[in-house]
Each structure stands twice: as structure tokens, then as C-alpha cells.
């Protein structure tokens, strides 16, 4: 009876509501059809855990963060070598004569996107105070920043022992002079400082949103970038054009367009158009290379693919010179280039059994052991097996994309010499019984497992007994990285992607104060290296600095601190109805704002 009485008052409005929804729904369908959206489907090989700029120390997070937030500077879309250009900043910084004080003026009109975190839900103008807050929060414990090391000891008031308890606490070297001017005082000259302001870690965040969302800020990013977040989960992130973003039209010439180099990419039509150029970007997180390829090859799948090395044979006509097959060139747009980074194997130098030892005799003996392992390592076979022979092997840690790259002065460190390895071990007095056992760390993937088997076979060839290297596998990179940070592994494989185009960024991997859990995962501790590194860090670009960088590189080669290195060649394919020039490294996510798709795209 009760239900019967209730039915009529509920049923009528319910029916009306359903009819209204149906009518509105039909109407919306027509509107969508009339104004077809421009959608670009991007694919990357991993999913970020957080989109908070303070956690954007990996390429996956950085790709998205650079589009949701603004950084003061960015890299030009097309210029190579990479060139900085003002982004949120109005111009390049005014730097004092002693190179320690930077004044940066913000551009007018930059606004944070509308969000419930702001009063009335309306975004507000980005101010100098936001820049100061964004840098300062890296040093607040609740941020759990992964980027504090970039500015610690560099900015006055942010020295090693400094802690910031509240966002209101002032920092001597960080000040908002007025609404649009920031003053930053450094402890000493740091010519790479402007580059750090183009990294995703330096992106500008509004304090209201950080406080409003708390720990959830990583999944509710609020920024002033060209896009706003529509969806973010383990499978994909959907970005929509930020209606409040206005940086004027694309100036292709200013972005480094070269009609010869960029011929065939159909980039000219974007010149003079306001950006971002697409309404929506879907970033698909597909870790499995074959799944990424399948998605790209299917209709309605992703628009771009970074070809996995296993498939290089299917798309390449020749490796040297590198040329895609005619069928691939006809069907897709293609691009190849060397990565701005490298992979290497590192020793834990903090382990006195294989690394630094207080006893000079043992120290020499340990060096002989490491050098013997390096001699036994076959980079050429590694390149052939895992990188389709397209990687570039080079000695040390200054990759070929950098101006300071030392043209192979001594290939000895990357040449497979098993006989020399055996001789080294014998002359240093190492025997199968005295060789210290080593823990080899790897992620639980089939590729890393195969790399271990390959490594072990080379070492056995050089005289290391079977079972000498104990593999310890980890479920994910986070766990693996933590084990390296806690110095649990004796030997490990790592990759390093440059965040700015300067050798200082890769040589910091060996700077003593950066020891684990910092970037110096190998725990190299050489006072002479540290002294020269500190000197190089304060020098402006020029021959003196380059010479110092090369000297530092030779020191790590001499000490056999790493077995390395190799820079991978990236092969990109994308659909011909997409206008772009992709870049995974330094330009990274910045290129997405310049991606366009043709109007009559199916």
C-alpha cells in the first residue's frame, strides 16, 4: 500500500526527467557532430604515480606536468641543440654581474585554470609569490619532494641543514619583489640554474590548490598550463585544452623551424595559429612494447609509437645509414634520433669488498677487479641483442648529444677484452676462491633477466666462477631503486635521462655529496673529483668548462666506477594526419602543445 501511494508522486517527475535527459542527450549528440573535436592520442611506456610537480622526476610524470602546469622556461620546439625560451617568464632572467642574483619577470595574463580550490571556483592570475611558494615547498617535509636536491645548497637559505616548516616561512634567497617579479639569490654562480627552471619539478603551483587537495593534489593537478586534466587513471590521462591559456600564435621560425631539416613533416600550417592546437589529448600508458605497437597498427589506436628495438627489423631498410622501409615511409611519418641520456652498469663503491677501501693495497686490487669486469663486458653484443645494434656506445658518462661529448679518446673502456680481464685478475692476485661474491640487482622483467644471463656468460668467460653473481630481482622500479638507494646491491643497471643539455647533469651522478640515496647511486667518493666538479659547476659555458667536464669523465673511466655507457636510438612513427615533431627527452611534454591534427581526419 505504501509503495502504491508513493508511486505516482515519484513516477511523474522521474518520467519527465528521463524524457528531458533523452532530449538533451540527443541535442548534445548533434552539437558534438557539428563541432568535431581535434583529438590526438599519445602513448608512453609507463604511468606516472602522481602529477604533482614535486614528484615529477621521471619522464612519464614530466610529460603530463609540463602540459598541466607552467614552468618559467621551456625548450624550443624544433631547435637542436636544445635552446631555452621564456615560457611563464616574460624574458630571460636578469643576472647580476657576479652570477648570483636572478631577477625574473612573469608574463602578464597567465592564469590558473578554474577549480573549486579557488574562491568561487574561478582561477586567478599567476604571481611571483606562486613561483616562490613552488620552489619553497620542495623543502617542506609534507611535500615529500623528489626535486629538492636541484636547489639545495644553491639558493641562499636552502642550505643542507635548512628545513621549512611552513609555507609562510621566509627564505633569504627567494623573494617576490612585486606581483610579477621574482628575485632569487644563489650561494654561488650556477650557470645551469635557468635550465632547472625548465624542468617539470620547477612547475608553478597555486598554494590554495595544494592545501585544498592535500595529498590528493597529485591526482587533482591545478595549473596554468595549456591543458587541464579531465581523466587520470592507470590506463590513461585525458587532457583538454585550457580555455584560459593564451600565449599568442605559434612562431615556427622562433621555435627553430628549418625548412630543410623539417621538410616532409607538414609543420608549416601551424605557423600563426594560437596554441594548443588540439582540443583533447589522450595519453595512453602502455608498458608492453608489443601492445603499444598493436594499438598503433590498429584503426582508432594511438597516433604515435616509439618502435621497440625488437621490431626495428620490420620498419628499417638499413641500419647504417639509418633508413626506414619505403612502405613505412609511405604510410607513416618517421623520425629517428639519439636519446638525451644513456644506460650504464654501476658498482656500489661503498662496499669495501669491491669499491673504495681504506687500505691502499686492497683499493688497488678492487679497482683491478672492477676494470676486469669492464674488460669482460661486451657492449657491442649488448647493443646488438637488446638495441638492434642502433645504440651508440661511448666511454664514460657524457653522451654524444652533449656539446662536451669527448670523441672516443679511449675506446678501451667499452671494448670486449676477455683475455685482458683474465690478466688483470691474475696480476691483482684474484683467484676463483678469493673473488668476492656480488649481488646483481635487476627488475623482474624478462629483458633484464636476459641481460643478467648475458652478463654472467661474459664474466664466466673471463674467469669468474659460476654462481659468483647472485641475481636479486625486484617487482618494480621503485623497489629496485630503493634497494640501490639503501646500498643493498653491488652491481646494477641504470638509465639516466638528461633534464637539461649540460654534462654537469650526468657528472653529478658521481659527485660525493650526492651519494645514495641521492643521484650518486654508485657512491663514488673522490675528493679531487668533487673539487673539480664544484669548480666546473660555477663556470659559464666555454672551453674551460668543457675541458673540466672531460677531465671528470676520464676520472670515472680511470677508476672503473661504471661499465658504460650506451645511448639508445629512438625510432618514432606516427600517422600522417598528425602534424608534429616528437621528442621524449628535454623538450619532452612541451611538444604536445604544438601537436596538430588535420581537419578532415577520419
Amino acid at each position: 500500500m505504501f509503495f502504491k501511494g508513493l508511486w505516482i508522486p515519484i513516477a511523474r517527475p522521474a518520467v519527465l526527467a528521463l524524457v528531458s535527459i533523452a532530449v538533451i542527450g540527443c541535442g548534445r549528440g548533434e552539437t558534438d557532430a557539428e563541432t568535431a573535436q581535434k583529438v590526438y592520442r599519445h602513448a608512453i611506456d609507463g604511468a606516472p604515480a602522481s602529477l604533482d610537480p614535486a614528484h615529477a622526476d621521471n619522464v612519464y610524470a614530466a610529460t603530463l606536468v609540463k602540459n598541466l602546469f607552467d614552468t618559467l622556461y621551456r625548450y624550443k620546439y624544433l631547435s637542436r641543440p636544445y635552446e631555452l625560451v621564456p615560457n611563464l617568464a616574460e624574458d630571460f632572467p636578469e643576472v647580476s654581474e657576479d652570477g648570483r642574483v636572478y631577477r625574473i619577470r612573469l608574463r602578464e595574463g597567465a592564469r590558473f585554470a578554474d577549480d573549486p580550490a579557488f574562491p568561487g571556483g574561478l582561477g586567478r592570475a599567476v604571481t611571483a609569490a606562486d613561483v616562490v611558494y613552488s620552489l619553497k615547498r620542495h623543502f617542506m617535509s609534507e611535500t615529500r619532494s623528489r626535486g629538492g636536491w636541484l636547489w639545495r645548497d644553491r639558493i641562499v637559505g636552502l642550505e643542507s641543514d635548512a628545513t621549512i616548516r611552513s609555507a609562510d616561512q621566509s627564505v633569504a634567497g627567494l623573494a617576490a619583489i612585486d606581483e610579477r617579479t621574482v628575485r632569487i639569490e644563489l650561494t654561488e654562480p650556477y650557470p645551469q640554474f635557468t635550465h632547472t627552471l625548465a624542468m617539470a619539478l620547477s612547475a608553478v603551483v597555486p598554494r590554495e590548490a595544494v592545501e585544498y587537495y592535500g595529498r590528493e593534489f597529485g591526482v587533482h593537478p591545478v595549473g596554468s598550463g595549456p591543458f587541464v586534466l579531465n581523466r587520470f587513471d592507470e590506463a590513461m590521462a585525458v587532457l583538454e585544452a585550457n580555455p584560459g591559456f593564451d600565449r599568442g600564435p605559434v612562431d615556427l621560425a622562433a621555435e627553430g623551424f628549418d625548412p630543410q631539416r623539417h621538410a616532409g613533416y607538414d609543420l608549416e600550417p601551424i605557423d600563426g595559429k594560437p596554441y594548443p592546437l588540439v582540443d583533447r589529448i589522450e595519453v595512453h600508458f602502455i608498458s608492453e612494447p608489443s601492445a603499444r605497437w598493436t594499438s598503433f597498427a590498429s584503426d582508432g589506436g594511438v597516433d604515435v609509437v616509439m618502435v621497440p628495438p625488437e621490431l626495428a627489423e620490420r620498419v628499417l631498410e638499413s641500419r647504417s645509414p639509418l633508413r626506414f622501409k619505403p612502405a613505412i615511409r609511405e604510410r607513416y611519418r618517421t623520425l629517428h634520433g639519439l636519446e638525451a641520456g644513456f644506460v650504464y652498469h654501476g658498482f656500489n663503491m661503498a662496499n669495501p669488498e669491491i669499491g673504495h677501501s681504506a687500505d691502499p693495497v686492497r683499493d688497488r686490487k678492487n679497482r683491478a677487479l672492477r676494470c676486469a669486469m669492464r674488460d669482460a663486458f661486451d657492449w657491442s653484443a649488448r647493443n646488438e641483442a637488446f638495441y638492434h645494434g642502433l645504440g651508440r656506445v661511448f666511454p664514460g658518462a657524457i653522451p654524444p648529444v652533449l656539446a662536451a661529448y669527448d670523441p672516443p679518446f679511449d675506446d678501451d673502456s667499452v671494448t670486449h677484452r676477455p683475455r685482458q680481464a683474465r690478466q688483470r685478475l691474475q696480476s691483482a692476485g684474484w683467484t676463483a676462491d678469493t673473488l668476492p661474491p656480488m649481488i646483481y640487482g635487476l627488475e623482474a622483467s624478462i629483458q633484464q633477466r636476459q641481460m643478467f644471463e648475458q652478463f654472467r656468460a661474459w664474466m664466466q668467460e673471463a674467469g669468474f666462477p659460476p654462481g659468483h653473481f647472485q641475481p636479486r630481482s625486484f617487482a618494480g622500479f621503485g623497489e629496485y631503486s630503493r634497494a640501490i638507494g639503501q646500498r643493498e646491491l653491488d652491481f646494477f643497471l641504470l638509465g639516466w635521462t638528461l633534464s637539461y643539455p649540460d654534462a654537469q647533469y650526468s657528472l653529478q651522478l658521481f659527485y660525493g655529496p650526492n651519494a645514495a640515496p641521492g643521484a650518486n647511486s654508485v657512491n663514488y667518493d673522490n675528493p679531487e673529483f668533487d673539487r673539480l666538479f664544484e669548480r666546473a659547476s660555477t663556470l659559464p659555458a666555454g672551453p674551460e668548462r668543457t675541458a673540466l667536464y672531460r677531465r671528470l669523465n676520464r676520472m670515472i673511466i680511470e677508476d672503473c666506477v661504471i661499465i658504460g655507457s650506451l645511448s639508445r636510438t629512438r625510432l618514432y612513427l606516427w600517422r600522417p594526419d598528425v602534424r608534429m615533431f616528437p621528442d621524449r627527452e628535454m623538450v619532452g611534454g612541451y611538444f604536445l602543445r604544438f601537436v596538430d591534427v588535420v581537419e578532415d581526419r577520419p
Partner: protein, 285 residues
């Protein structure tokens, strides 16, 4: 005690093909254990991805390792995992199931039935993966995980069978002649369960081999060893590039071994279990 004689007689009529195939696999595994072949599975003995040749009958993989060597070593791994898990899980299941069945209705039975139900309620791969992951680093983690998961089915069957047997006349006679519970369980009930346990062991063997392949494929199986699962996982990187030898070799070996054991298991069940035993006329039909 006539059961062993009956068992031998019953086993004599099994189909020859699965028995022959099993013998081949067993010989392959035995050769590895004796050090005759399959010991150089990790050695790089050729160049990358060589096609089949007199030196490398099945070619080489992306590292230049001989695929046949790895296949043979993988056979030994399959038998090591399969036999260990089959024997241990059936022994554990028989002991605990027999205990529960013999003491049906008592507290020990309630407790064991609860444990069995609880383990069965956890999805198999989740359970095995959780244990294998929690104990990673220990080489026997995967096998232990499988034993802890597989014993429950045997225990359930043995419990039911024990409850049935304990009501039989010969048990009553044994009890009347003064036999202890332990003696009745070991000398009278368990021997009568032998056919059932043999069939269960063959099923557990197959399940263990398959589970090992899946877990190794997922990267949570064997750590520093070679198995068909690892070979298939390696092949997943190569198939799109058009290299199939690794995949075909390991998959085919797995397929034939599983099919052989399943046929053997069916044959065993047919001959040992009177409830499913068919007459020659039925078999022809």
C-alpha cells in the same frame, strides 16, 4: 595386503603412446640430471638468433644461447617442479585428509576442514603469486606456494574416502582385533587410497608444470634457472619480430607433456577407480 599387486596389474594395460612420450621426457630430464646435456643452457654458444643448423638443432635465441639446450634443461625443471609439488602436496593432502576423515566430526576435523575451505577460497594464482612474491629470493618459494595450494583437493577427497572406509567391515575387524588408530590408518586405510593418490599425483604434476610456466612468464616463478615458462616469456619479445623457434619449442614441449600426463591420468583413473572403469565393449563404443 593385495593392493600393490592389483595396482601393478592394472597399470600394465595403459595406452602405449602417452607412456612412450613420458619416457622420452623422463629420459630428457634424466640426461640433464646426469650432466649429459642441458647443462650449458646459459652459455652463449652461437651468434644471435641463428636458424636451426647441425650445431644448433633448434637455432639460438636473442643472446646466442642454444634453444635445444634450454629446452632440455627446461624439461628437467618441469619434472623437478612437477614431481616435488605432486609428491609433497599429495602426501600432505593424504596425511591431513586421512586424519580429518578418520576423526570426522571431532575438533581436528572441523579445524582441518576450515583450513581447507579458507585456502580454497583464495584465487589460486593470487595465492601462489602472493607467497612466491613474499618469499622471493628463496629458491623454493614457488614450489612451496604450489604445495600449500594444491594439497587441499587431495585432502578433501581422502577425507571423504576415509570416512567411507572407516565404516567398512575390515576396519571393524581390525579394530576388534585390537589394532590402534594409527595402525588402522597406516595399514588399512591409506593402502586402499593408493589408486586415488596416484591419480591425484598425476593431476598435481600437470597443474604444477602449467602453474610454473604461468608464474615464470609473469616473472614471479623460478629465479636463477631456465624453464619453459621463461622461454615463452622470452619468445613474447621475439614473436612480433618474426622469431618463433623459442616459442614453438617451449609451447610444443609443454603441450605434449601435459597431454601425455592427462592421457596417463585418465587411463589410470579408468583402471584404478571401479566407478569409472568401463568394459571392453563400452570402451569400443
Amino acid at each position: 595386503m593385495t593392493a600393490p599387486v592389483t595396482l601393478r596389474r592394472r597399470l600394465a594395460g595403459l595406452d602405449r603412446l602417452p607412456v612412450a612420450l613420458m619416457a622420452v621426457f623422463l629420459a630428457a630430464a634424466a640426461g640433464v640430471w646426469c650432466g649429459l646435456w642441458g647443462t650449458d643452457w646459459s652459455t652463449i654458444s652461437g651468434t644471435l638468433r641463428e636458424p636451426p643448423s647441425p650445431e644448433h638443432w633448434l637455432g639460438t635465441n636473442r643472446l646466442g644461447q642454444d634453444i635445444l639446450e634450454r629446452l632440455l634443461a627446461g624439461t628437467a625443471t618441469a619434472f623437478e617442479v612437477g614431481l616435488l609439488v605432486a609428491v609433497a602436496s599429495v602426501a600432505l593432502g593424504a596425511a591431513l585428509g586421512g586424519l580429518a576423515g578418520f576423526h570426522a566430526g571431532r575438533r581436528i576435523d572441523t579445524l582441518l576442514t576450515w583450513v581447507i575451505g579458507t585456502i580454497d577460497a583464495i584465487p589460486f594464482y593470487l595465492f601462489v603469486a602472493a607467497i612466491a612474491f613474499a618469499m622471493r629470493g628463496w629458491p623454493g618459494a614457488m614450489q612451496l606456494a604450489m604445495i600449500l595450494s594444491f594439497w587441499t583437493l587431495t585432502a578433501r577427497l581422502v577425507r571423504t574416502e576415509s570416512m567411507r572406509l572407516r565404516e567398512r567391515e575390515f576396519i571393524a575387524a581390525a579394530r576388534a582385533s585390537g589394532s590402534t588408530n594409527r595402525r588402522i590408518l597406516l595399514r588399512h586405510i591409506l593402502p586402499n587410497l593408493a589408486p586415488l593418490l596416484l591419480v591425484q599425483a598425476s593431476l598435481a604434476f600437470v597443474a604444477a608444470v602449467k602453474a610454473e610456466v604461468v608464474l615464470s612468464f609473469l616473472g614471479i616463478g623460478l629465479q636463477d634457472s631456465i624453464s619453459w615458462g621463461i622461454m615463452i616469456a622470452e619468445a613474447s619479445q621475439e614473436i612480433l619480430a618474426g622469431h618463433f623457434t623459442n616459442f614453438i619449442a617451449a609451447s610444443l614441449a609443454l603441450f605434449v607433456l601435459v597431454l601425455s600426463i592427462n592421457s596417463l591420468s585418465d587411463g589410470l583413473q579408468e583402471r584404478l577407480d571401479p566407478r569409472v572403469r568401463r568394459t571392453p565393449t563400452e570402451r569400443l563404443a
